[in-house]
Amino acid sequence: MRVVAGIVAALVGGPMALRAQQAPPSAVAALPPGLDSAARAALAPVFARAVQQGLPVMALRVKAAEGVLHGVPSDRIVGVVTRFAERLVVAKAALAPAQPDEVSDGANALGLGVSASVLRDIRKRRPATPVTIPLAVLVQLVTQGIPASRAGDIVLRLLERGASTQQLAELPKVIDRDVASGVSAERALDLRAANVLATLGPRPLPALPTAAAAAAPSMPVGVSNGNHSGGRP
């Protein structure tokens, strides 16, 4: 009888009504206030699926709540949150094993055009430590106007060369300043990233300059075999 009632409800009220009844209480509770009933009905199954898949439901809540705050029409909120949930799935796989905030930032990165392979590569370069900051910097760089592929390249290169989280976190900050003084974001990134790369290893130390070298700094005496072993940054 219950099954028949369910089918009838589905025929009458549409698939949404059926699924809303089946969403677990925790998923429904995670829905933020301020959504109209249609949006709640549409998002409850999305949240429920996220719970089942071990995705960060709070991130979905936050995404929906942001739309509510800004007075976004509810059908748009539903679309945004649904697509975000799909990206969470991809991000979780690419960044495994991933913390909830890494998954969420990964989903934001994907939404900005960063590819899943970049996320995978980030994890490969930091298999045992959180990638929260590299992801945060990556997302921030793209929002500052750096093309997603370029931002991904740079972050990966910096990670490869052993840049610290402090060095990474500095980048968007100084780029903002450069942009404010009229430099394009991409050019600023090129310069600033080169700056950081220049201070990173691996790089053998050339010999100490002698007094003669100090007087004529462009002619380092220490590299007397003519081989500039320092390499390019």
């Binding site: 900050k173 201070t199 100490l208 300059p209 380092p220």
Partner: protein, 187 residues
Amino acid sequence: MVAPRRDPIDRSVVARAVVGDEAAFTELVQWYHARFLRFARHMLRDDAEADDVVQEAFIRIYRALPNYQEQERFESWLFRILANCCRTALSRSRRRSDHLVSLGAREARDVYQSPELRNDAAWHSLLRTALAGLPHDQREAFVLHYVDGHSYETMVTLTGVRQSALKMRVKRACDRLRHMLGAPDHG
């Protein structure tokens, strides 16, 4: 040789600013903004903080202008306010700048000794790090004297420190900078 700065601002502008002429104050900010920024950037951790402090200094200057009595050189008065703002900002964030210094000194030598790395961006980053490696008093004295070109007489009024002590701070700053940059010691 790059001159440290342009002339002091016209006295008539100062006189108008003292009595609250907003256009005159704007001229004053325009005249000194870059110099203030240069000083603050050398004294502080980063450019964003320097911006904050320069703005704070100009606001204090605006409020204090009615009290400027022309007993001392206007630029000495200006830079005292700016130097004090830098000092206050540094005392707020001292713990973190110490951390930066301990990272920097080691890297500085590496970059400077590799000529192919002495491109503009790396060099300026290196200088920033080396300056941060100086104790505040030495850095302030060095920047005031060599970078902004103040005479020791002005610096005495500006800092309230006697001349012999200021000269010692400058000398020590020079020695430390040379050491950090891997140059041989001077006599």
